[in-house]
């Protein structure tokens, strides 16, 4: 009996191996798109679906998915590798956000990597490291959009006209939004803010906000007791009214800081996760505008 069971287990394992081998061939797309774009993460994906809006035979994939957020500790999955190796263009934010992808892209010499960060003014932290969260500033995002549109026109001349037209429409929407945000935010009396995780320097620069302190630079590490105490003292002394967290990360330490210092916790969205919707970035920024109007009054 035992012998029989053992044999059937071996047979089962072998069958599974063969089946998984087959299933690899089954996954073929029904209609073959003429051009494939893989975006590294959500903000790049939203940008790409705006530029390719309404073009039927261009496919846009989001490598990291809608819920990942920044790529700080992204784990590459084999489906990602498959998508990238079949892509015509791999669209990245650049400035170090996708540094872990260099090893992958080096193995695929034919893959065209489109770096959106060219010519965007960089912000560095004290240690000289470049902050990659540039898309959170609308102006930088618009430069990135121009770069991406130009790159796609070159890579896929067949659709160049449509890319251009879509990009212009999106640029118009963005610059309207930027104007409205400036009108609303520039007159607000309080300019000092405290943020968690380093996503907002570009945003703050755009709207002349002063980030007094950034707590918990890496979102997955916890701030130490000393760091919390220093932050609370800074808030008490400087009279900062608002502490900003992001919807993507747990906020327990933000609430500690707020409780002890009398500041209020608000949520600012760096548009790094969200719905699969062409207007996602615009909507997130509208929401940020409302939040800031409330917080900095």
């Amino acid at each position: 009996m035992k012998h029989f069971l053992r044999k059937s287990l071996a047979a089962m394992l072998a069958a599974m191996l063969i089946l998984t081998g087959f299933s690899g061939c089954v996954r073929q797309p029904q209609t073959k798109p003429s051009f494939r774009i893989v975006a590294s993460f959500y903000p790049m994906y939203i940008m790409a679906i705006n530029i390719t809006n309404g073009i039927k035979d261009v496919q846009v994939d989001n490598m990291a998915g809608q819920h990942t957020g920044c790529l700080h500790d992204y784990q590459l999955q084999s489906s990602d590798m498959q998508a990238i190796s079949q892509a015509d263009v791999f669209l990245i934010n650049g400035a170090g956000m996708e540094s872990f992808m260099e090893k992958v892209t080096r193995q695929l010499p034919k893959l065209r990597v489109l770096d959106s960060s060219n010519g965007v003014p960089r912000i560095q932290d004290e240690s000289g490291e470049v902050n990659p969260h540039m898309w959170v500033s609308i102006s930088s995002y618009m430069v990135q959009l121009q770069n991406v549109a130009a790159g796609l026109e070159k890579a896929d001349p067949l659709h160049a006209k449509q890319y251009r037209a879509n990009a212009d429409t999106y640029l118009q929407k963005l610059s309207d939004l930027r104007r409205r945000m400036h009108e609303a935010i520039d007159t607000l009396p309080n300019r000092n803010i405290i943020t968690f995780h380093e996503a907002f320097p570009y945003f703050a620069e755009e709207f002349h906000l002063n980030i007094v302190q950034t707590i918990q630079r890496e979102p997955d590490s916890q701030p130490s007791a000393k760091e919390l105490a220093e932050t609370i003292r800074i808030i008490r002394k400087s009279g900062v009214k608002a502490v900003f967290t992001e919807p993507q990360y747990q906020q327990s330490s933000a609430h500690i800081v707020a409780q002890e210092s009398g500041a209020t916790v608000y949520t600012l969205d760096p548009a790094v996760t969200g719905p699969d919707d062409v207007n996602a970035y615009l909507d997130a920024m509208e929401q940020n505008l409302k939040t800031l109007q409330k917080a900095l009054r």
Partner: protein
């Protein structure tokens, strides 16, 4: 709570007790460390340190189940899964097919791997990595109350059942001949560890929770001469490492959990040299 805070302010008028998050952390440590010291004695005696480690790892799957169920409070899902897990380990060990360390490693790997697979399925593992390191500073007053309840319950179990625990761990045959339900006690003890580990994992962290359970008791074993002094040493060392680690982490700006474990480790090595020295003398 305000009275306790006022009391701490009077007794400890220091820089590090200025903020209530530090007061909360101190209170939590005053409750967690004796628990770990006490339960740790039996973990070390019964050679169950692998087992408690596996339970810590199972917390990851417990969180994942909580995420799948859509709850915000992972405590129940973690505790539920850890109980099933503990009893599962106990049942498989009881069947005698493989040795217990192999079986525990198998369960431990499953607990960890299943958690990683489910939590990273949506690509959002970073959200839960706080559980790996833990954060004692985020403990809330109502959670301190829960810790107090657990401490009281465990102390009561210890007072009433310690002798039976002890006898069944030293000689199971003798114990069962005296009508002590050995298996039941064994399972009860596993449940205690499961509850303790999952209730505190949010603050202590999956990676170091076992060190906190094992190190003080291991050091105490080097120093103690009787069962009674073993318990006192273990609880004492545990509390000392907890409090001094917390204070040190405040001034040095280090992670509280890791600092506490390092203090306990230093004490272990001191106790090791002391016991070697006294043996030779």
């Amino acid at each position: 709570m305000t009275q306790i805070y006022a009391l701490i302010d009077t007794l400890l008028p220091f820089d590090w007790t200025e903020f209530s998050y530090m007061k909360n952390a101190l209170l939590a440590i005053l409750l967690i460390t004796p628990l770990f010291g006490l339960v740790g004695t039996m973990v070390v005696n019964n050679k169950m340190s692998f087992f408690s480690d596996a339970l810590g790892h199972s917390a990851l799957t417990g969180i994942a189940i909580g995420v799948l169920l859509g709850t915000d409070n992972y405590l129940l899902s973690m505790m539920g899964f850890a109980l099933v897990f503990a009893l599962g380990i106990s049942a498989v060990i009881g069947s005698g097919v493989s040795s217990s360390d192999t079986i525990i490693s198998v369960f431990s790997s499953v607990g960890m791997a299943l958690g990683i697979v489910i939590l990273s399925a949506t690509g959002g593992f970073a959200k839960y990595s706080a559980y790996l390191i833990g954060d004692i500073l985020t403990v809330q007053p109502e959670e301190i109350l829960m810790l107090l309840v657990i401490l009281v319950a465990v102390v009561l179990v210890w007072i009433f059942l310690f002798n039976k625990f002890m006898l069944s761990s030293i000689n199971a045959d003798l114990a069962s001949s005296k009508n002590i339900p050995v298996n039941l006690l064994q399972n009860l003890f596993m449940i205690i560890i499961a509850v303790l580990v999952t209730a505190t994992i949010k603050w202590v962290g999956i990676l170091i929770i076992n060190s906190l359970l094992v190190l003080p008791a291991a050091a105490a074993r080097n120093l103690a001469r009787s069962m009674r002094s073993y318990h006192f040493w273990s609880i004492g060392i545990s509390m000392f490492s907890g409090i001094s680690g917390l204070i040190f982490s405040y001034y040095a700006g280090t992670a509280a959990g890791g600092t506490i474990v390092l203090v306990a480790a230093v004490i272990f090595f001191l106790s090791f040299f002391i016991s070697r020295h006294t043996e030779r003398a």
